[in-house]
């Protein structure tokens, strides 16, 4: 494990080099929050509650969603993996006793620590404007279970990005696949609107898809959109299922991909 600890520390250092890029990204995500505030604020002028939630609760949901994306979301890991395959940089990992998935995951964890910390800065600055709207439930069980769900979300997010990176063994360019997937994830992951606003039957189908567990699930636990602890238990079981499936797919793609991989030169 020591080698992955070192990979994590190197990842931490290299991500700190790009702290300004991440800080700017965090700053511009506040504009997205402004869009949410204006759009949903206007929607609430025509209804006292939407889906059984007040404006404050909906705004809190989007804020938690934003913070979660910076803590557990895969930013450009797919492109980084793709670049390493295309440029032959993975050759060095094939010759060393190091697991490429664990190496990349260590760097992913380091990157999310940096981006998660940096998004808190603009958030703290915006807090005087936002704090009167925020509304979080007070159940103590939500914090530990939400953190467990967050860990599962991070694994799912990274695994999906890793799968897309692996596609480079078959396709020269993966950007189209990634952006197409982002559109699907933005809807079924609850980034565009809380999933419980969907018609009941679509919502129930969404609960069985991996996207639900990318960010919506922990956000719904923290913000009270999932009411009962029993529902959280069921959700964690489905989330674990998807983590296992995606880890399996990762390994399959890696093995199949390596069969097609050709390394030239020294």
């Amino acid at each position: 494990m020591n080698k992955y600890r070192h990979a994590f520390l190197i990842g931490l250092q290299s991500n700190l080099v790009y702290r300004w890029n991440f800080a700017v990204r965090g700053f511009f995500s506040m504009f997205h929050l402004a869009v949410v505030f204006i759009l949903w604020g206007a929607a609430y002028t025509g209804a006292s509650d939407i889906g059984g939630f007040s404006f404050g609760q909906t705004l809190t949901y989007f804020l938690v969603m934003l913070v979660l994306q910076f803590f557990v979301g895969a930013f450009n890991e797919d492109y980084q993996i793709s670049e390493e395959i295309r440029n032959g940089l993975i050759n060095q990992f094939l010759l060393k006793p190091i697991n490429y998935f664990l190496y990349r995951f260590s760097i992913f964890l380091a990157a999310r620590m940096v981006t998660g910390a940096l998004v808190l800065i603009p958030l703290v600055c915006a807090m005087p404007l936002l704090h009167s709207y925020l509304s979080l439930p007070h159940d103590l069980w939500r914090l530990p279970l939400g953190l467990v769900a967050m860990a599962g979300s991070a694994l799912i997010q990274f695994s999906i990005a890793y799968c897309f990176g692996m596609l480079t063994f078959w396709f020269l360019e993966i950007q189209g696949f990634v952006i197409l997937s982002m559109a699907i994830e933005s809807v079924l992951g609850g980034q565009m609107f809380p999933l419980d606003l969907l018609p009941g039957w679509i919502y129930r189908i969404a609960q069985f898809l991996p996207f639900y567990y990318q960010t919506y699930f922990p956000a719904a636990i923290f913000t009270g959109r999932i009411h009962e602890i029993g529902q959280v238990g069921q959700g964690l079981a489905v989330q674990l299922f998807w983590v296992v499936v995606l880890l399996g797919v990762n390994q399959l793609l890696w093995r199949r991909g390596l069969r097609r991989h050709t390394a030239v030169g020294g």
Binding site: N21, R25, F28, F31, H32, A34, V35, I38, L39, W40, G41, A42, A43, Y44, T45, G46, A47, I50, G51, E173, G176, F177, I179, L180, A183, I184, S186, V187, M192, F193, L197, L198, P199
Partner: protein, 262 residues
């Protein structure tokens, strides 16, 4: 002027031929854009399942606004996005020299090198969204209103182009700033919101200082309520102002361009 038109036609022909060579890519990117457009339409549908109006706008009025906003953005994607995105990368890498050596206006050559037929294909889908919303609203715009709508879409395209060009031109000053084009996408999110939803400082910034809201609201208002001089002149004035500012920023940046090697 004729020579530039010939150059543009040659670039367009080259882009179409290239697209025909990579048909799977064309299909994939057309799907990508279609999916993102659907996401925006779905958002509106979901919200209106739970509320009757957004800032006084009904569901189909809002759909008309979103369709208009998407139409402007599809034109930008189709005509300019690839060229401007590559411009940023070329400035950073030094490959921008290639455009400096070409016999034509530098900004024109760099902005029109590539055309994206997939983006242009989806502009028909956006037009379909607008037409569907207009049909549901029972609108029967006159030929004059339609011509004015088209002119306003063109003005909106000029404003979006100028905003993207200013974002990309930042690469002349900040060569390490990758992803600056993200600024444009963040700002364009505001163009799908009705003007009446903005209050206080948000109204000042996004309606008056940055004309992202006017770009979509002005043409949508023309279809909904007919010719309104206030909206038309605000949009035309903003288009002229922003295009002038973008050209100025680009040329100021160009003076700083120092290539990357011999």
């Amino acid at each position: 002027m004729t020579r530039h038109l010939q150059i543009w036609l040659a670039s367009a022909r080259y882009s179409v031929v290239r697209t025909m060579m990579f048909r799977f890519d064309f299909f994939l990117w057309a799907m990508v854009e279609l999916c993102w457009m659907s996401v925006n339409v779905l958002l509106i549908s979901v919200i209106y399942e739970h509320t009757g109006s957004i800032a006084g706008w009904t569901k189909y009025e809002m759909l008309l606004l979103v369709g208009t906003s998407l139409l402007v953005q599809r034109f930008l994607m189709g005509f300019f996005w690839s060229s401007l995105f590559e411009m940023g990368r070329n400035i950073r890498s030094g490959y921008f020299d290639f455009f400096l050596a070409q016999p034509g206006n530098i900004l024109f050559m760099a902005s029109t090198r590539k055309l994206d037929p997939d983006g242009l294909m989806n502009s028909f889908v956006a037009m379909g969204v607008v037409a569907y919303a207009a049909h549901k609203l029972g609108l029967h715009p006159s030929a004059f209103d339609l011509a004015l709508y088209a002119l306003m879409i063109f003005s909106g395209l000029v404003i979006h182009y100028s905003m993207l060009l200013i974002s990309i031109s930042l690469a002349f000053w900040m060569t390490s700033a990758q992803g600056v084009e993200g600024i444009y996408f963040t700002l364009s999110e505001f163009s799908r919101l009705p003007r009446e939803a903005f209050r206080g400082i948000a109204s000042l910034v996004f309606v008056w200082l940055l004309p992202v809201v006017v770009v979509s609201n002005a043409p949508a208002h023309t279809l909904l309520h007919g010719f309104q001089p206030r909206w038309a002149f605000a949009l035309l004035g903003a288009a002229l102002l922003w295009f002038g500012a973008a050209v100025l920023v680009f040329h100021r940046g160009l003076r700083r361009y120092a290539s990357a090697s011999s």
